[in-house]
Amino acid sequence: MTAPDETSTGSTRPGDRVASDAVSTGRVARPSTELLQAVQAAEASERTTVLRRLLRDPQAMTTIVLLLVILILGLLAPIIALHGPNEAQLSMVNAPVGTPGYPLGADESGRDIYSRLLYSVQTAAVSALIGASVALVVGVTAGLIGGYFGRVTQGVTEWLFSLVMTFPGVLMLIVLMPVTKGAYQATMLIFGVLLSPGIYRIVRNLVLGVKNELYVDAARVSGLGDLRILGRHVLFVVRGPIIIAAAFLCGSAIAVQSGLAFLGVGSLQVPSFGAMISSGFRNLYIVPTQFLWPSLSLGIITASLVLLGNALRDVLEGSQPKPAKVGAGQRVLAPEAADGGAYDSRLLDIQDLSIAYPDPNGGLNEVVRGVSLDLDKGQILGLVGESGSGKSQTAFATLGVLPNEAMIVGGSIRFAGRELIGLTDAQMAPLRGKEIAYIPQEPMSNLDPSYRVGSQLVQGVRATLGISQREARERVLALLARVGIADPQRTFDSYPHQISGGMAQRVLIAGAVASRPRLLIADEPTTALDVTVQAEILDLLRDLQAELDMAVLLVTHNFGVVADICDRIAVMQSGRIVETGTVEEIFRDPQHEYTMMLLGSILDENVVRTDAPVDAAGGKS
């Protein structure tokens, strides 16, 4: 029983409720007609390229042609079949392959196997058509309604479909035989309904996704009715996944119909692969080939449908994320680009670092281009730039945690004189936590939701310091108190979803400094927080830095933060460092126009300030 894999379980589980804003008015300005036209033009051009890609895909083409040939043969059955599907000839019982008029032999009742095969194709095609179209019509309609309209409608459809989903389907089909009276068409109708929750899930999730997209808002504001929007814009987005699912649905319907016919559910007068397999199975020891033909046909059809579904998925949805070996370390294109000589007294010395990502055309797209930075013991360096300037990538590369796709295409990263580029995870592990630590930007997503806060920190401390569970626990509790958490024990025992964002950021800071690192890399540590909390977190960072005499690489887009706690600043734009200097130099006398622009922009911003401003900040006024 092949089921559509991704379709049977959407990304959302039963019981999950996706929040939706019931109203989204006033957010969008009235769109220009140009915008709507542009959207429509994009839709049209995408349609043609998808078709072209499909025609060029060998797997899709082979399976489509194969299925079409089989379908045409089935449709031509009344013309090319030599006998009627149920025409029994007593003298031909179990006739061997090659008997005149019976090219593939005859079965236990003396019926021509070749002709029955052709007619069985018709049955399979009708089953697939009914099963898949019922599932699609019911699923898509309900998905559109459940996703697009308000909360109540959504709740009701969700509940209904999670009920249908838990139906033991095949059992119902068997049990309802007295109702269907043996008509396989009726059985497939019911089966279609039983398959519909998978489609419903896909469509609903997609609709929820696009519902508040700009172009749907645009259509709504421009006065299109709900039906028009659903039909034109929303259906356009969901069509890809639906086409893919349809292939799998057809396969499921044919497999289930065959299985039921094999059992004997349904009229014996209907020729089908299942009935033929059943008859062949009974005769397996007498005439094995009787079993072979229908099995082969069924196998080819279902396999083609699955392969077609997979090919469609590749073409329509593009390449899926590929796994990489965990612990292999970062990918390096040009290992050992460094001179390999001169001992460096600096704590961190990044030279000419370049990082690239593969682009869709197979080339490489550099996001960090020849960045050089250095940092001494106990120093705080602010790495400033707008989002997408490559500052986080630089930070990740130093930690050795760039994403799988990223590739270091040149340069060197030395930590206390040791080259870090080219190290595996196992080689980096002793440095992490103990020498180099990391505070992430978004507090909530950086805690493992399944573990209590305390145990996550204990695990890190034990991994780096190798101390006992009890010692680690005490250390973590003390740290939680140190980072300003009022009730450390309670936070220790909480799950991440039970604490606030500011608290979570304190926890992450505690986790970072737990093993007294020499270098702390903080990636926008205050960006995701409330303004009042931001100030406290910065104070905490400054205190901890002084206490532990750490070097800090502070990645931020906020000059206010930099002015507050940094010694030096490096300004980054489009993957390059455009200017470096002390805080005073940069604020007093910025050289690069990008720096001036960034500085100019903060004058309007409410800069957080909690204690005596650093001298340099005077340059602002």
Partner: protein, 313 residues
Amino acid sequence: MLIYILRRLGTGVVLALLVTLITFLLLGTSFEDVARTILGPSATPQTVAGIMSAKGWDRPVLVQYADWLWHALRGDFGVSVYTSLPVAPSVLQRAAVTLSMIIPALLLTAVIAVSLGVWAASRGGVADRIAQGISLLGYLIPGLLLAIALVVLFAVQLKWLPATGFTPITEDPGKWARSIAIPVIVLTIGGVANMAAQVRGRMIDELRRDYVRTLRTRGISSRSIVLGHALRNAGSPALTVMSLEFIQMFGAALIIENVFALPGYGSYAFNASLQGDIPVILGVTVFGVFLVIIVNLITDIANGWLNPKARVR
């Protein structure tokens, strides 16, 4: 957590009521056919009417449903129209046969699919292609054909395993294992094809999450990150997949057990349905739904254990 379970149980009860009511309503029209079948060719309108009133089938369908429900709630599912055997014990006996194939198959599926999925997601490259190939193969071959092919190979050609028949586990565990070996293999191959791909996908997603990166920066070993953190978080969606897999397998088993002439749930349901044996059909349906409810409940409880957020809901 308790409220959560009670709520899910409530949904289950609604499901059971709904399914039996729908079945009852759909079958309501066929009572007369059943009476005629019982009487055979000698049926006259008078004798049919006699049986109808004797059995209480001439009452309105909803009244009959209420009557059935009232008895069912007290554990009385009636007797078979044809054999007069009580329904409940027969249902349980037949279900035991089918479940004794599904449970081992499901456990095997879970172990193999999780190992394969984790292996593929954390190794990538060749390992990933092998795992994807295995799961594609399982998809391509319909279970029915696989079952027959394995019977031909292991039972007929090699004579390692019996082709048909069933030995209860209580009688002889060795013989039981041999009698269910092929069906379990077939169900497992189908299940692994389904589940390994899902586990792989979830694991890939989890391994890309922010918290994984943060844990790595704290010097925690790859092994602990993959098995302790990513797998644990991938576990709760995988459990949901597994509960759906159970329903799938149950359906597949109903068809496949026929290949092995196993006296399971499928043939029981099929015969009852063929004859229109309404009390048996209802018993079979109720128990089927009941199984699903139990599996869902187990899934929910396990989910609550794995996923702290589910506990507070």
